[in-house]
Symmetry: C2
Amino acid sequence: MQLHSFFNSSTSYRVRIALALKGLAYDTLPVNIRVGEHRADDYVANVNPSASVPALIDGDFRLGQSLAIIDYLDQKYPEPRLIPLERELRARVLELSALIACDIHPVNNLRVLRYLDAELKVTPQQKTAWYRHWIAEGMAGIERLLERSNAGPWCFGAQPTLADVCLVPQIANALRMDCDLRAYRRSLAVYEHALKHPAFDAAQPQRQPDYTA
Amino acid sequence: MQLHSFFNSSTSYRVRIALALKGLAYDTLPVNIRVGEHRADDYVANVNPSASVPALIDGDFRLGQSLAIIDYLDQKYPEPRLIPLERELRARVLELSALIACDIHPVNNLRVLRYLDAELKVTPQQKTAWYRHWIAEGMAGIERLLERSNAGPWCFGAQPTLADVCLVPQIANALRMDCDLRAYRRSLAVYEHALKHPAFDAAQPQRQPDYTA
């Protein structure tokens, strides 16, 4: 398999964690979204009509969108399973994952921050306030979901799931943006536990072939 | 079952379509997000820690996040199945759904538009340009995915799936905001086909008990 990935993209990071947890070998094909390589005609036409990273190449099958890719991997390579089969646990895992993937991450990603700069001419202070506002609102929700589940050391118990796969890159991003996360005790505990796991460690931005400081 | 819903919320609209397609009876519990009822202490503590609509109540089980709710319904009431089991078709359905649920909708929802107004003091023209920019970028991606699938009358063939459940409310929103969608011929054809289906019709905002003009 091959993965079109950008080291600092948290959606790419999710898929890298999933591939590593499943022990699947792959080649990284770097796509530098900072210079717009995800919008190149050939990439959009032949690899990923979503014009984004990540994109998985599995033989003749090419797939975009991190959540779709991870579900595909979970169907094809079910061990270890990241989206549980037991109905209520599955629902809880998907609920927390969607809170990150639909409510937090999209509002703070590179294209949105660039629009704030280029089109709305916001000040650096306004951009930071924007970022921190959505992190604070979203992380409060995550923390409430984790309190309700009252599990550990992973979001939903003894094994990592899609919820952890989404949470770790989101927290890494928030820390990179100097957000104060001390109020989110359970989330930070999961994050710290995860980084000790070799699959989560191997998926980190600074371990990627396209990493630049 | 009961559904906490707001008539004009497109994530609520998704779940209403899914419930109607499956022929499941439910009571609507209106949550007026325009006046912040989704942030009320009791609602957040006891119904939906995500502080959003929709939320499903199924006996003792309470679940937020539209994509998690629809997956839960698909597990518990699999006919008709909205998330296919066949691996590659399933991946395609989830890919298009994620493009809407993660790339388009979150950037244009009520809380973001209100932040643009209240915190960034954008002009009405800037707000309209913001909305239309993300619709244009996202709909171009949807249209490319539909061209690749080359199916019809639904996004992926003869039966509606989660992709249609996500697409119809997104197009309804874009039309409400006067976006020019003529370039998205395949998307519009799916939308027009869907509105003739009784389940999609019944789920429309103007059919809801909390509808106001």
